[in-house]
């Protein structure tokens, strides 16, 4: 593949992320290159083979090993990146916690795809939502441009000396990962300067200054205190995410916050959405505004750390909010709904809230679904009553045999 020098290109979300990785030129990438991996790992492997990067590319026998190799390489002092998806992220589970607990600034792209069974490889957020308690910073991307921009920013967030935590950049499987979009690429030199040179604080391979990584810390030790320190680190990342976004705006002209309000200030009802559903919902907002409906959306970009105070501030003036969720927690509400609803609990007056599950296993999220969600919100706002806190968008009419 020829080296890209054009500024504006038509590429898939996966290719955009691979280009970001080429420009970042990490020391080590460890990945399991077979399904459910995406062509992020494949495209990056081509860059390695073509000599466009200096990366040591480690192909391993599973995602459990991929993340383990990332942990080892990061502890050794390397700048480390990887990519995964779906069952692959699920298989990394154990090591995700170790990467975060050891405070290793690994950057990973996760292409959001559902978890079996039934076997299905299409878009939903069950994979990353399941990893929400692992201690990773989680950033979500609406389109290929955001995925590219977020990966570049993630390096700086992860490696910031007040943070030192792994970052997971998410984008929607197939809808963004495999669809060709217009993407503005930064110049290689600009990205190189932006991410800078990685200077690990305690590299394991510094034999002149031996250190111990990943020790035992049992019952009489300080496990609890270390977890508290880890919590404080992810709290500090709130500011770092915004500082890095400010700096990124200066090189790209593109603006990022922890979330993006869209026609929300003067709205009476709103949807909270993640990833690509935001694009569809924005179109519907514009159309419904033309008809005089007071609708808006809030697109969440940073899910971990969770911005409870800021979100309650942004949503408090609304009459009704629907939390759109591309994941479930069977037997309870969706994770996003539970957390956002909880964030607003202490307000004197707060919007009514409903949880609408959509798009599981890649089921399409169409404008009529966003419209239906706004319809639910408008009815709740009008009646001031939530009849069904948990609903579904886009289910087929079928006979279910229990």
């Amino acid at each position: 593949m020829a080296k890209l020098t054009e500024k504006i290109v038509a590429i898939t979300g996966n290719a955009a992320v691979a280009q970001a990785m080429r420009q970042i030129n990490p020391d080590v990438v460890a990945a399991y290159p077979i399904t459910p991996q995406t062509d992020i790992a494949e495209t990056f492997a081509e860059f390695v083979a073509d000599g466009l990067v200096d990366t040591e590319y480690v192909t391993v026998e599973s995602e459990h090993s991929a993340m383990s190799a990332c942990v080892g390489a990061s502890a050794a002092g390397a700048r480390v990146m990887t990519a995964t998806s779906s069952q692959g992220l699920a298989l990394m589970w154990e090591i995700l916690y170790i990467a975060a607990g050891m405070r290793l600034p690994i950057t990973m792209t996760n292409v959001n795809r559902c978890l079996s069974a039934p076997i299905n490889i299409h878009c939903d957020h069950s994979d990353s939502m399941g990893a929400r308690d692992s201690g990773w910073i989680q950033i979500y991307s609406e389109n290929a441009q955001e995925a590219y921009d977020n990966v570049i920013q993630a390096i700086r967030i992860a490696e910031h000396k007040s943070v030192l935590l792994p970052v997971m950049v998410n984008m929607d499987g197939f809808i963004v990962s495999h669809s060709i979009e217009r993407v503005e690429l930064l110049d290689d030199e600009v990205v190189k300067r932006f991410v800078g040179e990685y200077k690990p604080v305690y590299p394991l391979l510094d034999v002149e200054n031996p250190v111990t990584h990943g020790p035992f810390d049992g019952l009489g030790g300080f496990y609890f205190e270390h977890k508290k320190a880890q919590i404080e680190a992810i709290e500090r990342s709130r500011k770092v995410v915004l500082d890095v976004a400010d700096e990124f705006k200066r090189i790209s002209g593109r603006e990022y916050g922890c979330f993006e309000p869209y026609r929300l200030d003067d709205a009476e009802v709103a949807l909270v959405v993640l990833n690509s559903a935001a694009g569809t919902s924005k179109c519907v907002v514009d159309a419904m505004r033309e008809e005089g409906y007071p609708v808006g959306i809030l697109k969440l970009r940073v899910f971990r750390p969770f911005l409870a105070r800021e979100l309650s501030e942004a949503l408090k003036h609304l009459k009704a909010v629907a939390i759109l969720e591309r994941a479930t927690s069977p037997g309870s509400f969706g994770p996003l709904y539970a957390e956002i609803r909880s964030a607003l609990y202490d307000l004197e007056a707060r919007p009514k809230m409903v949880n609408l599950i959509y798009g599981l296993g890649g089921r399409e999220f169409r404008p009529e679904h966003a419209k239906e969600a706004f319809g639910v919100c408008l009815k709740v706002a009008q009646t001031k009553r939530v009849e069904k806190p948990l609903g579904y968008l886009g289910l087929k009419e079928v006979e279910v045999i229990s």
Binding site: G101, M102, R103, L104, L164, V201, Y202, N209, P210, V211, T212, H213, G214, P215, F216, D217, G221, F222, Y223, E225, H226, A229, Q230, A233
Partner: protein, 96 residues
Amino acid sequence: MKEWRAEKLMPGALIPVGGTARQYKTGGWRSEHPVWDERACKQCFLCWIYCPDGSIKVRDGKVIGIDYDYCKGCGICANECPADAIKMAEGGEPNG
């Protein structure tokens, strides 16, 4: 080895020195301990071969006793000894 206190928390439980396993004596788990009888020992080295934790002390090619810093008290040496030179005794501490 450099000065370091466990109470001084480093990111990710990192320890800013190496070789700390040397300070960690794992023999404290014992509920029984082996007692070696030098006069009965035939120096056959079966205990040394079988000990899963390398806790049979050897000097100048001869068994000279048990390394209680690391012996877990599993009793394999006593079980394997053909000369009844190792017997298990109550309690974790050899002098307890």
